[in-house]
Amino acid sequence: MFENCIIKYQRAPDNPSNDKDCILVTYPTKEDGSYKTLIVPINNENTDYQAIQKWVADGNTIQEAD
């Protein structure tokens, strides 16, 4: 599901100490220059977040926020 994606936490702009405000998933760029992004909340009921948790459980790591 997340093959060749960049998965990174986002820092809250209005509260910089919160470096896990949400997760930004950036998919590979297509031939026309467009790319899909998925912004995922830290929310156990959200199935995209559940998928990321499974991706992490499979040995992958979410990049830290800038």
């Binding site: 220059g33 909340p41 929310n43 009921e45």
Partner: protein, 413 residues
């Protein structure tokens, strides 16, 4: 008025029908009396449903907010998820081929574009609708009063043979139970209406009527129904019409391999799920609904905020400059309360969006943050792109600037 007191009226010898009164007569049922029916009743109008709204959402295949043609796994037509792991390929489209005279305008079409004639053990292809557990408490699973279910749908394919339905009671903190049920597509390229009955004790089992058979009463997935198009040997060890406690029994060994030829195509529409046991002659009619009502139900799971292809929807949301340089916030109230706090599905690209404020416009590729609940939320853009044509605190609007610009909220199961 005379009174006849009897316990039973039967036809005369050789007959099968008892008539009461003559044409034009009125047969009165006194107030407080009950007509008990343990058989089949006809001619009383539509059968009554315990569920006021259709349990299946978008059974008419009318709503397809993500597009009309798909080649990747995932949600495609609204509420319907496609998942295949074979060496073949299937293009899924919203189609206008429908059964004649049934009131449908759309169907879903599965078209094999790359064949896989020999499935590996771990390969499969299925099409699924997931249900929130809290919406199916009326099934009374987990009790001895668990209800029968009847699934009806129209199907058409050139690939005839035995197919399998897959009914799944999700674990929900207890045990997942599955029941495959076979059905046949008998005539090539001919619409056929299928009626599938599911008993809570199918296969003389008690999984569903015991407490672990309860459907989780929450907004999580509590149940799913899948149409199997292909299943390798790892996934076809189910026993027809029998509940089992083992997961991933997608079908039985009789399941055809729909992906075995690029000429194969299959259409489905008119999917309905009824509480109770019905036959082809007693099943209530499909609950047609307006496009708007259908869309509204789908929007609990997927809402388009804005799309560059919609001329009437160029404004995505109101926003304001946060710090005078590169941070923008934008508030958005959802049109319908969503199942849970949603993800944002966005199509980005160079200058796909623009922030209009202070008689100027700052283009950017896409927002990079969102936080919210089930009724609304807050987009933000931080770092990288400039929104410096405005000052901190000045408000404006965010609009799509490319035909492919697209922002949607996703809270699927």
């Amino acid at each position: 008025m005379s009174t006849i007191e009897v316990n039973k009226i039967t036809p005369v010898s050789g007959g099968t029908t008892v008539q009461v009164g003559e044409s034009g007569d009125t047969i009165n049922i006194p107030a407080g009396a009950t007509i008990a029916n343990a058989g089949t009743s006809t001619g009383f109008g539509d059968s009554l449903r315990p569920n006021a709204q259709a349990l299946i959402i978008n059974g008419s295949m009318e709503i397809s907010q993500r597009g009309t043609s798909f080649t990747s796994n995932g949600y495609q037509l609204d509420r319907w998820s496609f998942d295949e792991s074979t060496d073949g390929a299937v293009t899924v489209t919203q189609d206008s081929t429908v059964p004649s005279g049934q009131g449908f305008g759309k169907s879903i079409k599965f078209d094999v574009t790359t064949a896989d004639g020999t499935l590996a053990a771990n390969q499969y292809c299925q099409w699924t609708q997931f249900f929130e557990g809290q919406n199916l408490q009326l099934l009374k699973y987990g009790t001895s009063s668990a209800e029968n279910l009847t699934l009806a749908f129209w199907v058409r394919s050139n690939k005839t043979g035995t197919y399998c339905m897959r009914f799944v009671k999700e674990a929900g903190g207890q045990t997942r139970y599955e029941c495959p049920i076979e059905y046949s597509i008998s005539s090539s390229d001919t619409w056929e209406k299928k009626i599938i009955n599911l008993s809570p004790t199918a296969g003389s089992t008690t999984f569903i009527t015991n407490s672990a058979g309860a459907i989780v009463n929450s907004n999580a997935s509590g149940y799913r129904i899948a149409w199997i198009l292909a299943s390798g040997s790892d996934f076809n060890s189910g026993t027809n019409n029998t509940w089992t406690a083992t997961s991933d029994r997608l079908g039985t060994t009789n399941q055809v391999n729909f992906l075995d030829n690029t000429s194969n195509e299959l259409y489905i529409t008119g999917v309905q799920l009824e509480v109770g046991e019905y036959t082809s002659s007693t099943i209530p009619p499909f609950q047609h609904e307006s496009y708007a009502d259908n869309l509204l139900r789908c929007e609990r799971y997927y809402q388009v905020v804005g799309s560059g292809t919609r001329a009437d929807n160029l404004m995505y949301f109101y926003a304001y400059n946060f710090d005078g340089t590169s941070t923008m916030f934008g508030a958005y109230n959802f049109r319908k309360e969503m199942r849970t706090g949603p993800s944002i599905d966005q199509t980005s690209g160079t200058n796909y969006y623009t922030f209009k404020c202070n008689n100027a416009a700052d283009d950017f590729d896409g927002v990079n943050g969102f936080r919210g609940g089930i009724a609304g939320g807050e987009f933000y853009l931080s770092g990288g792109s400039s929104v410096g044509s405005s000052s901190a605190g000045q408000a404006g609007v965010v609009m799509g600037k490319n035909a492919s610009s697209h922002v949607a909220l996703v809270a699927e199961l």
